[in-house]
């Protein structure tokens, strides 16, 4: 038994991590976590009690119950007890629901589900113009942010397990969720509604920051792209223009103003590439440019595998430099 418990211990490591509802880092996820633990414990107790009763009545003391006791058992165990348990859980669950739907008290975000990435716009509390920064959701800790969700083609669902429950995103409709993260850190979000070939690769980083750090980040994110600093990066900027990347991607402050694909103004400072698909090393940028169709099946962006190795490296240097 001890050996079995010890053998099972490493599996508990799966409960922690950046994408686990069992390791809550926000108020909403914590409430769901408590609900889950209580229901799990209750289910285990009921399971053991029921099977214990079966075992007792069939193996240990297999005598016929007096009719009156049997009827009492059926009325209490079969009708009264389940009604009270289900009713209590229903009342408790309903009392949690308004908290999960509470309106935000500061930052407001617009998130649009695309094939297969996330268009994110931050609406600052002071009423300034929205700040565009896709494929990453950054939130200030200790504040309730409101996320207005929609989608452009098919139904998606936004889920950051460490921060809260999921909410579907519908084309032509707006749904609202609010999150109050408490622990600064980097978590992983994932599309939770099957949306096509690359559904499983439609993820993102959810970064919870101290409010001051968040404000600084948002101010930096609102600025135009920095000019390429090295000769290689400048060559990369030329290739970017020559290959027509700007038809789909915007790099604010340059001629690239496309809006079909993710805004790349500050792509070099993001924590993942391709909506949670790759890391952010130079090598990742080069791989992404050449093999995007293999990394994200049926993606709209064509693979630029006709570019030579040095051209790819230059382009990667340019993009990585867009911090």
């Amino acid at each position: 038994m001890t050996a079995l418990a010890c053998a099972a211990l490493p599996w508990l490591a799966g409960c922690a991590g950046r994408q686990s509802a069992l390791a809550p880092a926000g108020e909403d996820a914590a409430a769901l976590h408590t609900l889950f633990i209580v229901m799990l414990a209750g289910a285990v107790v009921l399971f053991v009690l029921m099977n214990g009763l079966f075992f007792y009545l069939t193996r240990i003391n297999p005598v016929a119950l007096p009719l009156r006791h049997a009827r009492l058992l059926m009325a209490v165990g079969g009708i009264l007890f389940p009604t009270i348990v289900v009713g209590t859980l229903l009342v408790w669950g309903l009392s949690l629901l308004p908290d999960q739907r509470r309106p935000g008290d500061g930052l407001r975000l617009h998130v649009t589900g695309e094939q297969w990435w996330w268009r994110v716009e931050y609406q600052p509390a002071d009423g300034g113009p929205p700040v565009v920064s896709p494929n990453e959701i950054r939130l200030p800790a200790g504040q309730r942010a409101e996320l207005a969700l929609t989608s452009s083609h098919v139904i998606h669902s936004l889920w950051i397990p460490a921060l809260g429950g999921k909410m579907d995103m519908f084309p032509g409709r707006e749904t609202v969720m609010s999150l109050r993260p408490t622990e600064p850190g980097s978590y992983r979000g994932q599309c939770a509604e099957f949306c096509g070939a690359s559904h499983a690769w439609m993820a993102f980083e959810a970064v919870v920051m101290e409010p001051a750090a968040f404000e600084a980040w948002l101010a930096a994110e609102a600025r135009d792209a920095r000019a390429p600093a090295t000769p290689e990066a400048r060559r990369g900027a030329d290739i970017f223009a020559r290959e027509g990347c700007g038809a789909c991607h915007a790099v604010r402050g340059t001629d690239a103003q496309g809006s079909l694909g993710p805004d790349l103004t500050h792509v070099g400072s993001r924590q993942s590439l391709g909506a949670g698909r790759l890391g952010t090393g130079l090598e990742d940028f080069a791989t992404w440019i050449a093999h995007v169709d293999a990394l994200k099946p049926e993606v709209e962006m064509p693979a630029y595998d006709h570019l030579s190795e040095p051209e790819r490296r230059a382009l990667a240097a340019y993009l990585k430099g867009l911090e």
């Binding site: 009713g87 009342v91 308004p98």
Partner: protein, 135 residues
Amino acid sequence: MSEEHAPRPEEDRREFAEETESLWRVTFAPALWALHFLACYGLVSLACARGLFPIGATRAGLVGLTLLVLAGIAWLGWRGFRQWDVHSTGRRANPGGHAEDRHQFLGHAAFLLAIISFIGVIFVSLPLIMLEGCR
């Protein structure tokens, strides 16, 4: 053919008519539950999604409807309990095929269905009472 097996169509028809009515009554409590469910979800949707009526008045009206429906189901349950007639006969189950057995069995079924419908209506109305507004 003996006397007791002779066909008696008039008597059969009378008996059958009574049981048809009783059979209908079995469905009344679950039907009330279903209509209540439909009214709650339908009216709240019309109030929230279409804005046809104010949500406060809709909730108050539906709480009133819930009380009426619960009273109706309780009455149906009481009638079923009386028809089951367990106290005077002492028979909980009615396995026999006689008219009286059928009559009492249908009362028993109506009584049990009324209990589950009563609980169902309460569960359906809890969100109505506990969740404010349309959010």
